[in-house]
Every structure is written in structure tokens, then in C-alpha cells.
Symmetry: D2
Subunit: 212 residues, 4 copies
């Protein structure tokens, strides 16, 4: 029975390139795919665009309120469903994709960010992490040369810790930088500040002192 | 720099056996580990017990309100931190483990369930899925012989779809069965029923009809 | 310490695209890479060419007799070494790459075929499979829609089982098709015919009969 | 269609424990497995023994000359075939296992060493690395705390670089230690010494000097 895949990675890890390569591999075999993207990602409009220079029209541009199955209709002859920016799917849409994979036997491959600039999941990525049959990571490079797994947001070139979960790259002076865990803690700050009472941070400092 | 690992798997996938094997491998090398477990899991009390016959005392029994770093103290000479039943960690405790891995350079390996009997994540597993450096799956076998990835709950031997997220195996007539996605949909029912308005299910049925 | 990676996949699994994406990710960060290719692969001469439309000049074109370290010289400031068509490396060259990764702390990522049209390894891929720190698979699609892992050779459009290990795609009427295991056994034939005395095949037939 | 798995790891990485856990998971489901071991491994005779304390009788003890299919007979009702010490299989036996997986649809899971004390593959492991559908690594710990992937042999407590490929742990003063790549190069010596003319080593030294 077909699987639901979640291929996650930080910004600029080549997710769109990888999606377009998979689509290409199917089509070269004369097998039909459906390419979807969430409309929340306004970059490229109804096109997938990869920084390395590839470009492809999207078949379905999804709104958060869409019932995915209504957008689909007849899926006969479809070999694979590919979704870009899948972090913006609603949990309901992910559930629909899971049932399509299992009940119609069509593999569904979702590409997306795992977490936002505060290291918290997006609604779509949390549901995919909970449910997908296969979790596969795409990696990119941190400024230090290590593997970058986290996304940091900059406004006007400076790292920020506050703001809305969604702010599209390039709008309102917002940019992103993919960082490894160490560089994130160093340049953006402790993740305890975000999620926990002060006591944790003080305790951590105590452990750090004792241990060194 | 050390990593935070999340090794997830359905019930009875050998998570405790694997944890005890890793602890054994370190200790055979005269390297010291800390083994932790959440107190929410009352099975075995302060012991890890694997069905295959292994048994080991836990070093730290964690309460949800615990500041993990306060429980720790001096970590000098610790080669690895191992956590069982990590789905019961609070997000804050996961954040603490991440900072320990990155700032004190001690690998942290968490074993736990990915999702509950309704296919929804636990607070600890969601945070681990969002943040862990490596996500690694342990698999077990469904009644049909395929890989089981989901957990189904039975009360009095019958699959149920409602109830609290936490109900310990063996108490109050509750048992669990690990299932593959297809068998879950077949025996427990659609996951759309749980999370989505009726329209999704009707649309899915329509797609199913059109496609077949 | 840096790792030696072997990313293997059947023909047309997007190996060169993936390599160029990784190089792009480094260079976007102003980090320098070296891209190498074996001269045995005459396609594209000193260029990497991917079917999807990407193209890039190779920094080092390796001959089988080359001592790789002699070709290298000063590696200061190199963030990563990338090798395409790595199945054509000699075992000695793989050993050199391993020592470079471990002793100079530069990650080395090799892309290549795992096996030839008879399902046997190439000298370079066998050495990489034995030694690389990480083995990562790139997948492509079989004619049946499943994951293709094997390479079948055609001469004049017909599957063949005999011939030299190396015959470049496009020359002398030679083409290749990536197949899954089942389709390979079905269209090309049993792999027992290749490697084993007749008794195995007869025994297998007996087991097949008994079991069904 | 069923897969052939190769789960490889250095000495003491918990391969036999993992195999016995998988067998246990099947049998708990009332599903039947066959457990095989090569007779070249004389430890434990016809028992699998794991250091952590588990023990299990082997169903089939394989000789190198055995035609595996002849040993098998009727496979009806077998849910899985499990092989320990699979590095000692002959390539022919691996081919037989592959055809069984694909033609009778029974998953075959092979556990074994990837390479010998000179970092060279065993006949069985090379064939599995070339052919298996899934390559999965089991890791253990080096004396330095990193992941150990290589096997070093000691005679009378001293690392050696020469000797036969097979020498069973415990016989004739032979012991093994699992090491990471760096520790192997440091304590056992360069792998170039083994496989390559002197020129490589001199060139490597030159690169090392230039680069530092």
C-alpha cells in the first residue's frame, strides 16, 4: 500500500529542486503526477521556483479552507501526488492525503519546513511528523559548515525572536538564515527563553557551571 | 557537537530493549550513562522492563513539573543521557535536553511513542519531532505482517475511538495493538472522522468512487 | 570529524542534480567546494550534466591511475569535496578520500551507481559500500511505479545479460533502464543464472512449487 | 513485494539482540520465522547468544557449500527469514535469499559485519551491500565516545594489521575492538598502507602539510 512521505528541511535545503526532480523522473516514464502548493506561500505565485534555476507550474494551488478531496476529482492514472510548502497544509488536509495514499494506493510526497524561526512546528508539519509513513531529512549548510536544521529570521539583517509565525522571505525586510543548533543558540539565543519559566534557564546555567 | 535523537516506534517495537542495549554498549566501555523515565508511565515503577526479558533500574524518575536541569546537577563524566517513554516529557523538558546536548556536548537519546491511539502526537513526542537532530524509527509487525506504525486502543478487547490520551496498558481492561495504516483504517476507522468536518469524508468517498 | 558519504542510486535517480544542489548550497554561503568526476564517464566531458537541465564544470577530471592526493595539493579553505560517477573510482582513490575526510576534516560526498547491469558492484562502489561513514540511497521510478534499485542494459532495445561491465549510455546502441527487483527478475531473468550453479535454480523452483 | 534487508554494524553493536527482538515481535503475533546462522561462526554453536543476556536456538545452521533453497523446503506460513552472521554467507546464498524475498514474498533480514579488521568486506557482506533493498546501520560506541564503525583485531591485546580474514573472537588470544574511523587510523594505522602503493601515503602527507 502506498505511503505518505514527509521530506523536511530548513530553508534553502533544495526541497523544490528535489520535488521537481521526482516529478521529472515520473514523467520521463510517461507516468502522471499532480503537483500542489499552498497559496500561503505567495512566492512564485502558481509556479515552483528553485534558486538553482528550475521552474515548474503547479497543478493545484491550495487554500487553507479547501477540502483537498474536492479539488481532486478523478485520480485514475495518477502515479504520485507531490506537495510543496507542506508546512502550510491544515491538519485536515494532511489527513486527507493520508487516506488517499492508503485507500487509493497513490504515494504522496510532501516537502516542507519542519519548524518556524522560533523552532516551533507549523500546523501542517506537526501533523505530517505525527502521521507520515516516512520522515526523510534534506540538509543544507550552516554558516559554520555544519548541517543546518533550524531557521532563523532576520528583520533588516538582525536576528529576531518575536513576530508572527508566517512572514514570507523578501517581504517587509524579512530574510531567513538556516543555522545548525549551536549557531542558533549562539546567535539567536536560548530556546528556553521561548518556552519555559526562568527557573529552567537558571538551572541550566548551574549545570553548565558544575559540569565544566 | 552532540545530538538530540528521537527514536520513535509503535507499542511493542522494542524501544526499551534498544535503550538497554545502548546503555550496555556504553557501560561495557566503562562509560557512564544516565537513564531516565517519566513517572506518568507507571508500569515497572522505577524499572525499565522489556517484554523480551531485560530489566534495568532507572536513574531518574521524572515528574511533569520537574525542571530537568535541577534533577541533574553535575554532568561531568556522563557519556550519554537515555530517556524512555519520552512521549510523556513536557515540551519544556525536551528543550532542556536539547540545550544540554548542544551546550554540554552530551548525546541525548529519547525513546517513545510517536502518536496516541487517535494518531495524534503526545506533547513530548511533538516537541521531539519538531526539534530532535535525528528522527529514527523502530518498527514492529502488524497483524497482517506489514510494518506497524500506529497504535490502536482496545477496551475489553474492542477497538475504541474515544477516551483520554493516556491510559496505561493493562489498567481498566485497556490493551493496545500496533497496526499498519491500512489495518487501522479498516478496523478502527477513518482518521477523518476524528479531525475533520463531514464534508471531507464525503469528498473522499466521491474521489474513491470516481477513481475506481 | 568529517565523514565520507556514499549516495548511491540507479541510473536516472537524480545523482548529478543532487550533487549540483549541494555545491550550490555551499557556494551560496561563500564556501568553496571541489567537484570531481572520473574520466571513464565520457558523457559531458569535463561537465556534469543532469537530464533536468543543470550543468556545471568539473574541477578535477580523474584518471584511474591518478593518485588523488597528488591532484589535490593545498586543501585549505575547501569546505567539501564532491565526486560524481564515483563507481569508477579505484579502491585506492576511495581510501585516499577516506583519509582526507578523517585527517583533514573535510566532508567528502560521493555519488554513484551501486551495481552494474548484472547486479554486481563496480570497484569504486564496492569500496565505498565497505568503508563510507554514511550510505544514503537516491531512488527513482521503475516502469511499474515502484522504487527502481537495479540497472538493466539494453542493446538495440532488448535486455541483455552479457557484456563488459562498462558501456556508456548512448554508445553502440546501448541504453539502460532502471528497474525494481521484481521487474528485473521478470524481464531480464534470474540473478542465480549469473552467479551460481544450476542446482540453486532447480532448488528455488522446488521451493516455489512447494510453497505455492 | 518483500525486501532483502542488510542490517550491518561493527562488533558488539547489538545485532543478535536486535534479531532476537524482531523474532520475538513476530512470534508474539503468532507469526512464524526461520532463524539461520552460518556455521563459520562457531561461537554459541547452534545458539544465538547476545552479550546482554538473550539466547535462542537457531533453526538452520548453514554451511558455505549449502544450497540454501535445498535446506528450506516448504516455506508456506513463514512470515520472515532472519540471518545472523550474514557476512559469512556466500554470494550465491545471498542471491538465493534475494530471489526468495522477491518470488515468494517473504522478507529476509540479514544481520552481519560490514568489514573485517583490515576494513575490507567479507564475501557475504559485499554481496549484501551490492544487492539488498535496504541498508540499515546499527551503531556502537568507540573508546572515544563517538560512533564506532570499524573493527580492529588484537592479538594478545595488541592491534594487528596482518592475518586471516576470519579468526573467531576468543580463540588463540584474538580479541576485537570496535573503533571510529579516527581512532582506527590513530591506533591501527593508515588504511593506505594496506591497499595502495607508497606514493599515495607520501602524497597524503604532502597534502596534510600544505593544508595545515
Amino acid at each position: 500500500m502506498a505511503k505518505l512521505y514527509f521530506r523536511y528541511g530548513a530553508m534553502n535545503s533544495g526541497k523544490s529542486t528535489s520535488l521537481m526532480q521526482v516529478a521529472y523522473n515520473y514523467e520521463e516514464r510517461d507516468q502522471k503526477v499532480i503537483v500542489m502548493k499552498s497559496s500561503i506561500d505567495t512566492k512564485g505565485d502558481s509556479y515552483l521556483v528553485s534558486r538553482i534555476g528550475l521552474r515548474r507550474k503547479v497543478d493545484v494551488l491550495l487554500q487553507p479552507r479547501d477540502t483537498l478531496c474536492e479539488k481532486m476529482g478523478n485520480l485514475s492514472g495518477i502515479a504520485c501526488i507531490l506537495v510543496d510548502e507542506a508546512q502550510f497544509l491544515t491538519p485536515r488536509q494532511v489527513d486527507e492525503l493520508y487516506e488517499i495514499a492508503k485507500r487509493i494506493d497513490i504515494p504522496v510526497i510532501c516537502y516542507g519546513l519542519r519548524s518556524d524561526f522560533k523552532t516551533q512546528g507549523f500546523p501542517g508539519s506537526i501533523r505530517l511528523l505525527e502521521l507520515a509513513d516516512e520522515l526523510e531529512e534534506l540538509v543544507t549548510i550552516c554558516r559554520c559548515g555544519k548541517r543546518a536544521k533550524l531557521n532563523a529570521r532576520k528583520v533588516g539583517g538582525k536576528f529576531v525572536k518575536d513576530g508572527d509565525q508566517v512572514a514570507i522571505d523578501g517581504n517587509d525586510d524579512v530574510t531567513y538564515e538556516s543555522l545548525c543548533g549551536e549557531c542558533y543558540l549562539k546567535y539567536v539565543g536560548s530556546i528556553l527563553k521561548e518556552s519555559t519559566p526562568e527557573v529552567s534557564e537558571q538551572s541550566l546555567e548551574k549545570v553548565l557551571k558544575l559540569t565544566k
